[in-house]
């Protein structure tokens, strides 16, 4: 009996190994959000552009928007930034930023230098209810499509590329716009 117990670490490891094997087949950036088909969590947050102006969920409704979680500290965000600019300027999709775990001054510099695709940026201050947490954000960047009724329709964890923009996001946005 005692001997069998000694096999426990091996059993746990094999189980973990199976998950890792499966994990290799799954693309982490395509990890589905539990929120898809669910309404966007309620929030009321100030914006980076104007700390006095609070935005809540109701302000987003009536249009299909891209909600992009980003931070100036995040190297991958630099990488996806050109695609976001393209989405906003070329395809005219409203992009809303959620500035995540960032310093506000650094975020402003980032937008100044890299260009600003965002209609506005939500910021989460200490002590305020965190939208990113409710959204299940694991890191940055992450991107969501929210439809006109405020329902999350799509989620991308990881870098948004031109290919993803054209093949996945654009058709989805157009689909929900109609």
């Amino acid at each position: 009996m005692k001997r069998l117990l000694l096999f426990l670490p091996l059993a746990i490891f094999i189980l973990m190994g199976a998950f890792f094997l499966r994990g290799l087949e799954l693309d982490p950036s395509a990890r589905e959000s539990a929120l898809i088909g669910q309404p966007l969590p309620d929030f009321r947050l100030p914006t980076l552009e104007n700390p006095q102006r609070y935005i809540s969920k109701a302000d987003l409704q009536g249009q299909v928007v891209l909600l992009n979680v980003w931070g100036s500290w995040c190297p991958s965000c630099y990488q996806e930034h050109p695609s976001l600019l393209k989405a906003a300027h070329e395809y005219q999709i409203p992009v809303i930023g959620l500035n995540y775990k960032d310093e506000e001054a650094a975020a402003k510099v980032y937008l100044q230098k890299q260009g600003n695709p965002y209609a506005f940026n939500l910021v989460e201050r200490e002590g305020e209810r965190k939208l990113a947490f409710d959204l299940g954000v694991y890191g940055a960047p992450e991107t969501f499509i929210v439809d006109a009724q405020g329902v999350v329709r799509y989620h991308l964890a990881g870098v948004l590329t031109d290919a993803i923009l054209q093949q996945e996001i654009l058709p989805k946005v157009r689909q929900w716009q109609n």
């Binding site: 005692k2 000694l6 670490p9 982490p28 950036s29 539990a34 310093e103 650094a106 959204l135 890191g139």
Partner: protein, 654 residues
């Protein structure tokens, strides 16, 4: 062109090193099986040969970097002719392929060190230890050669200029951080090899634990320095003043550290009292397995991380298979050979053994918590259950209470006797430290912040408790001193001082974490040239911006004077906005006026109309104590390694 064959020679040396590793991993084992000294004797020379050829290989890669040989793909992607020479050297480990070569080289260095410093070991044990390390070298050697060759060429169309090293990595912190971290990760392979060898020949005894201890402590000390350096680098280089982000890659380094800490303590019990043998072996396997797991998580692309390492599923499969062989194999061996019989040493509920067990359990629970948080999204995804957020709220919610418990146990542990102790006697030893800690802890938030703050009180209480019990222990240890307490302190032995320093480091970290988490302040200000401004108790004057030309970047450098109330200049702060030319990447270089009690951290924002600039000023109290605490801990580990008793040729207990 004589230069052009250097990479081929390096590649060739790498292949030769692999051949040496193959011999090292097989013949000595055959020798122990057949009990023939001739075959066992292969272990040491092969280890040295492997080390020699890997050194040649690493040297030639470095040389190719210095000579700007952009026909090598790895160099073309990670270097540039304008890069200063010291960053060309550090670029060798600036990305996946080269960092693996460094990994392999450090493994060979540890192996060679075991071969050189372990002459007192029984021959068969040494042969087995080196053979186990040989297996690991073979696995990683194949990994480098088959999936991640740093010498691969871009021929015939070699680029004329390289793509440059990622500007984030052009920094002193990155020159030092990976080698230290790898010294730690790979160093645990020694404890692992000792554990496997002990399982193979069934000799799990005090001698085995004593041989393992210095190697484990050394690896742990390096890992501690590596993690501290990484945190320090993130603090000043990422430009927003944070020092720990619960990123998967950081967690990957924290987990072996936690288990390694448990292992150090468990080895002490096994050596001194002969208990927890199976547990200690298991921890030794875990510590190294988690190092390997970290490698897998970071380089296979199964998790998204801000540390974007070049990831590739093919590499992931290779490491997973390797992981399965090494970890699965050793856990299988463990299940078959670990002593299932309880040892006949007894100890009571109130004893050092029990306290160290509590330490071990808490450390392992913390490690499991971190592991779960790190791979939870992966598990849910694999089960098709969607995704749930795991972020700093989860980690902080569990980490703070668990480490608080750990600190309480840590204070008691050294004061408890082995085997058993009367409760009254223990209370007598700890009540004063406890009372002082409670009093000062409660007072701290009022004195420092002027208002009540539970976390500050808790942190203050724990720090004072740790130091108070340490002082109590010193008094206790020197209570019979005839020639004066100072004289007695000198006689306490390096291992003891190592322990004291290690624990003091924890107290320093607790102070740092508590104060910087609760009393940091930041302010964004708009500053015009010549303007003075007050932030908190500090006055600053903005002198303007000047253009600075770096070797591979141009920079807008702000000149900010910190002045006294009557406008005398106290210090000059020079934050920068750099544009790295090869990648057209903008980087913020913060200017930090550091002090023991506080850092003033200044970063440039954006230019505003009328020549004004947005400037961000942080106040970070006691942030240095985090890294100083780490260094003090590491110093403690190294002191323990230096203790003479590990180097006696004929130890009493063997």
């Amino acid at each position: 062109m004589w230069i052009s064959i250097l990479p081929e020679l390096g590649h060739y040396a790498l292949i030769l090193a692999l051949c040496f590793a193959l011999v090292q991993s097989s013949l000595p084992l055959w020798g122990t099986y057949r009990r023939q000294a001739f075959w066992m004797a292969f272990a040491q020379p092969m280890a040295l040969g492997q080390f020699f050829f890997l050194s040649v290989s690493l040297l030639l890669l470095s040389l190719s970097f210095l000579l700007d040989d952009f026909s090598v793909a790895y160099i073309a992607n990670n270097s540039n002719s304008a890069l200063p020479w010291y960053y060309k050297i550090s670029a060798v480990w600036g990305s996946h392929e080269g960092s693996l070569l460094l990994w392999l080289w450090i493994l060979a260095a540890w192996t060679a060190a075991v071969g050189i410093f372990s002459r007192a070991l029984p021959r068969d044990l040494l042969a087995q230890v080196l053979a186990v390390m040989g297996w690991i070298a073979v696995g990683f050697g194949l990994f480098v050669l088959l999936t991640s060759n740093p010498f691969a060429r871009l021929l015939p169309d070699a680029p004329l200029e390289g793509g440059d090293l990622n500007p984030l990595l052009q920094d002193i912190g990155l020159i030092l951080h990976p080698p230290m971290l790898y010294m730690g990760y790979v160093g645990f392979s020694v404890a692992f090899a000792f554990a496997i060898a002990a399982l193979l020949n069934g000799r799990l005894d005090a001698a085995w634990a004593r041989w393992s201890r210095p190697w484990t402590s050394a690896a742990w000390a390096f890992l501690t320095i590596g993690i501290a350096l990484g945190s320090w680098w993130a603090y000043y280089e990422l430009g927003w003043g944070g020092w720990w982000f619960w990123d998967p890659v950081e967690n990957a380094s924290l987990m072996p550290w936690l288990v390694g800490t448990a292992l150090m303590h468990s080895l002490a019990v096994t050596e001194k009292r002969g208990v927890f043998k199976s547990w200690t072996v298991l921890l030794a396997i875990f510590a190294f397995s988690l190092s390997l797991l970290g490698t897998f998580l970071v380089r296979s692309g199964v998790l998204t991380s801000v540390h974007a390492f070049a990831s590739d599923p093919e590499r992931g499969y290779f490491i997973l298979v390797f992981l399965a062989l090494v970890v699965g194999g050793s856990l299988f061996l463990y299940a078959l050979k670990a002593p299932a019989v309880k040892s006949h040493v007894s100890y009571s509920l109130l004893s050092k053994e029990m306290l160290l067990l509590v330490n071990n359990i808490l450390l392992v629970v913390i490690c499991v918590t971190v592991l779960l948080g790190t791979i939870y999204p992966l598990i849910l995804d694999a089960l098709g259950l969607g995704k749930i957020s795991v972020g700093p709220p989860y980690f902080n919610a569990l980490f703070v209470p668990l480490t608080s418990l750990l600190c309480i146990a840590l204070g008691i542990g050294p004061l408890v006797n082995w085997r058993t102790m009367a409760r009254k006697q223990l209370v007598q030893r700890i009540w004063l430290a406890g009372a002082v800690a409670l009093g000062l802890g409660m007072a701290l938030p009022w004195v420092y912040g002027g208002e009540w703050n539970l976390y500050v009180a808790l942190g203050g209480l724990l720090a004072v408790w740790l130091v108070g019990t340490q002082v109590r222990d010193l008094l206790h240890k020197t209570r019979h001193a005839k020639q004066g307490r100072l004289q007695a302190l000198k006689g306490l032995g390096l291992s003891y001082w190592g322990m004291q320093l290690g624990h003091l480091g924890v107290a320093l970290c607790v102070v740092g974490v508590t104060l910087v988490s609760n009393y940091s302040a930041e302010k964004d200000v708009r500053m015009e040239v010549g303007q003075s401004i007050q932030v908190g108790d500090y006055f600053f004057r903005f002198e303007g911006i000047r253009q600075v030309q770096g070797p591979n970047y141009t920079s807008d450098q702000g000149v900010l004077l910190r002045v006294s109330e009557d406008n005398q200049v106290i210090s000059t702060l020079l934050p920068e906005k750099r544009l790295y030319l090869a990648r057209r990447q903008v980087m913020t270089e913060a200017a930090i006026e550091w002090g023991l009690m506080e850092d003033i951290y200044v970063a440039m924002g954006e230019p505003l109309p009328d020549g004004a600039w947005a400037i961000r000023i942080h106040y970070k109290p006691f942030v240095r104590w985090l890294w100083i605490g780490g260094l003090v801990m590491a110093l403690g580990g190294l002191l323990a390694v230096a203790d003479k008793r590990y180097r006696q040729a004929n130890p009493v207990q063997a």
